[in-house]
Subunit: 225 residues, 2 copies
DNA sequence: ATTAATATTTAGACAAAACTAAATATTTTA
DNA sequence: TAAAATATTTAGTTTTGTCTAAATATTAAT
């Protein structure tokens, strides 16, 4: 008979796994100690300590001085936390009428609540959403995400038409900027002019003509029509 | 100008305050070290340590060897945690369709999520409930509860009629027993016979005739009609 | 190819929250 | 009222997660 030793993952360990998950998603397979430290607001030495513990638990692959990557088990654990984070964000916005710039910090707490049944009931209650309020994909039960085709708004050409589908930066400041300029997920955008000097552009967003800097267009994911 | 130093209360501290709150509510004003230790599944020495810390923070009144009681600040902090616990239990039962015997452990986690706005929005979303799924009162924003008049079913006399309004024991086992016997909050109950030997009684619950032991009638709060 | 700069790890310390074992105080019982 | 029993506190450890400072390794620059 098998003894199923189910591993306890602490809140802190979950946060490290999540950081490695997000960093690995953008950059290379191997994530650096400093990158984790920056993201998690900890010192590099603390990161090294934690990485060793995670390696001991077979949640990460770790070679001294060579960075760290998630094992399959670590990837699933991290994705499950991300799944919970994003489901709770949907709940907060859709059901409790929070604004999209208010939900992240609360979701950072809710994502650590442990109950598989809670997650699956919440998922059902929300109608099995696939995207969170910021356009980020919600991993499924097995930790898999289905990515959609998208480009950065800054990459489009004059007169191209597109729909806003996601953001790179989801900081409160950026979200408030978007609110102020009436740019939201689902907004229809057409590029009316591009300034080659500073790469700013004039766009038509759902009928409103506005000018946006390159920092903005570099942080908006769109789907070309 | 005033410097408002807002106190950070840890998860562990919240649990101790809650234990003292519940114990003080039933028994005397002063709660014993051992009673807390029992309730919280810790050793008495750990309780002493924590009590000292809480006294330092002005959350409890503590005199060595004489037990502990909540200060006004401690009472409000504890009541706020209880409020959150019970609101989340309502959410889990009313919105996510959990059974009343499944929600306690999840609420034990959710009660520690820190966000005043979340609590007030959740409260509104649930329609400002005053009782949780087990009939326990939900403290308001200021930590006050309005108690209703109620008696123990075991205290009633032959032929008395009443409505079930609450429970003393909310353990999963007891809740499942009640489910099996179709006893729920709001059930109409009439006492058909009482056995003086063992204090068991035959009752009519919403049309079903059943026999219950004294342990059961001692754990059911009712409102006499 | 050295040196300088940067990144990472090690060593040692600390705070929080728990524990065990021993000491002390309070309460009960005879 | 003096033991005996019980309750509470103290002293000393442990684990987890963090930190600073110092040592070491890697990478970049001359
Ligand atoms: Mn978020
Ligand atoms: Mn998000
Ligand atoms: Mn409960
Ligand atoms: Mn309850």
């Amino acid at each position: 008979m098998f003894i199923l030793k189910l591993m306890m993952v602490t809140l802190s360990e979950e946060n490290y796994l999540k950081a490695i998950y997000h960093l690995g998603r953008l950059g290379s397979l191997s994530v650096s100690t400093n990158a984790i430290a920056d993201r998690i607001n900890a010192k590099a030495s603390s990161v090294t300590d934690m990485i060793k513990k995670l390696a001991e638990k077979n949640l990460v692959n770790y070679v001294k001085y060579q960075g760290v990557s998630l094992t399959e088990q670590g990837r699933i654990t991290a994705a499950t936390v991300v799944r919970k984070h994003r489901l709770w964000e949907v709940f907060l916005v859709e059901k409790l009428n929070f604004r999209w710039d208010e939900v992240h910090d609360i979701a950072e707490q809710l994502e650590h609540v442990k109950s598989e049944k809670l997650v699956s009931k919440l998922d059902a209650y929300l109608g099995y959403p696939t995207r969170d309020p910021h356009g980020d994909p919600i991993p499924d039960k097995d930790g898999n995400i289905k990515s959609i085709e998208k480009s950065l708004l800054s990459q489009l050409r004059l007169n191209d038409s597109c729909v806003c589908v996601g953001l790179i930066d989801s900081s409160s400041d950026f979200l408030k900027y978007l609110d102020k300029n009436k740019i939201a997920l689902g907004s229809n955008i057409q590029i009316l002019s591009k300034e080659s000097f500073d790469d700013s552009m004039t766009i038509n967003v759902d009928g409103n003509i506005i000018n946006i800097s390159q920092q903005i267009s570099n942080n908006l994911y769109v789907k070309i029509k």
